[in-house]
Amino acid sequence: MSEANITPVLMPKWGLSMSEGVLVDWLVDEGAEINVGDEIMEVETDKIASAVEAADPGVLRRRVGDAGETYPVRALLGVLAPPEVSDDDIDAYIAAYEVPVDEDDDEGAAAAYEFAETAVGRLRYASRGDDGPALVLIHGFGGDLDNWLFNIDALAERARVYAFDLPGHGQSVKAIEDPGLAGLASALQAFLDTVELDSAHLVGHSMGAAVAARLACDAPERVQSLTLIAAAGLGPEINADYIDGFVGAESRRELKPVLFNLFADSELVNRSMVDDLLKYKRIDGVQEALSSLAAELFPGGTQSAQLAADIDASGLNTLVIWGSGDAVIPAAHAQALGNAAIEIIDGAGHMVQMEKASAVNALILEHIG
């Protein structure tokens, strides 16, 4: 048997609550030579639609999944194998494949999230991975830990990954005692304390990158490295239409065009994403939290925090990742850092960690070593 040469293409698991997805369409034909990172199929869940990038190289010998059909997470959708593997072996592999049973599924999505009682209040988080270096993911303004839904499981293969909701966000406490960068950085520190991490590699997106950088300057002993994705805090301006539009939007009709700013591919903004964000914005306390953060950090399309010099001075190992088509914070801000590795990814917008997840995951894993 040459099963060792056969690599399955599976229905991905995006996010903690995903149990099934629709294989919208294949993007490659049978017989195609696949390289890591190639977009091979389009998958849609009730939360999001995205292209799936190949995690392994090989020839796509067989499409098992049919376009338009719904499959459970980790169902076999295709088979990669070198040309010398016989069709009989591939048939046998497909016949023998069983969707693995996920012990977590019985407990449902709720069990996937945990809550930490911290010095700044209750914070929701998710943790993945058993060993390896500690990695903490910090989302941006108006986001939550599900902004990392294409990253957390992939990173957890080589790290202990924590993603949490900042105060005022997601399902964490909505009141922010000190609604500025210092307050959010102390929330990050309180989270590290509660989950008992003396130090960690920090990966921040947008405002979360500024939070990570601020902690690195305030308490360098807690930070092993920085990965700053589409970072705030490095340049003078930010898209005021986005910030003010996000804070001010009260309806689906108002919010949807604002969200187009986040992605290079505006098709990613679907009804479910808009509805989920509106549900978040309508929770008591959220509007106050967002307004006060926006006024403090991003007044009138400017950025009040300027951290580039401090980051350089910290001497921390720093990686900067940006989508070339970022319409919220320009990718040119990456150049403010003198001592960082800079990676600009084409065809991605502000949510580069979602739009080009494989590339971002690979860069982060390489960076933390």
């Binding site: 509805d275 549900k279 309508r282």
Partner: protein, 335 residues
Amino acid sequence: MARNLSMKDAINEALDQEMSRDPTVIVMGEDIVGGSGSPGEDDAWGGVLGVTKGLYAKHGDRLMDTPLSESAYIGAAIGASTCGLRPVAELMFLDFMGVCFDQIFNQAAKFRYMFGGKAETPVTIRAMVGAGFRAAAQHSQMLTPLFTHIPGLKVVCPSNAYDAKGLLIQSIRDNDPVIFCEHKALYASETDVPEESYTVPFGEANIVREGSDATIVCYGLMVHRASEAAETLAGEGIQCEIVDLRTLSPIDTDSVVESVENTGRLVCVDEANPRCSIAADIAATVSQEAFSSLKAAPQMVTAPHTPVPFSPALEDLYIPSAEAIADAVRKTMAP
């Protein structure tokens, strides 16, 4: 955090949280504490179907059992609302509203207008609506169109637990009289509901399902029947968009028109009787606003123009079914 909650528990939680947040919120109605003579302990009823169960233990005398006199206590609630309280009055069955129409139609609905905007009437009147409960003609009506007809009243009818909590909190915080209609058949239906307080704004429909072939406009229990129909039709290659109105006054005409402009076909579903119904209103509005987008005549699926029958077999036939909705959509698709 969010968890699964029934619509009944979501309504209870909304009342509990608003009573905790705002000391001017009071709750009154028949048997809403524990029934006559009950101390309101754990065995108390908490309303005819237990929606307010447990609130008396937490909020004490801010919940009041009233006499069986709707005209008296609905009038009292409306009066109290003009004097600084935010009463939530439970009227048990919307059908009973008939004995206090003057208080609602002529008083509550008119104060803001007749006193030049100086008077506010932040009262919420909760009542059960809808058939299917084997409770015959006087306890089963969908009288939403009656209240929607009156300027000065806001009319809400949620289809699920999430909306019920957010819309009830919005109703209590709103400074105008709100008729909050709870479908009995939905009390047990569960959805994800955040623990925290939140609002769902009035006048914003929910797009429950997206589709490009036909628009089904509905509210309350009918959202579930429409979803069943849409599932069946999807198997036939017909993609339906479902617009859950959530509030009937104010009404989100924009979302309805926008949807029909995309699909070109309209089916209006209403559990109310057909004449002067929400369905008729939507059909007329769309015919006027989006006539050139329509590829077929709008269809209405409603209860018949009869009282709700007591015979279970007839009552089941009376309520618009998923099959009837699917047939109406097919009719709009016919060449």
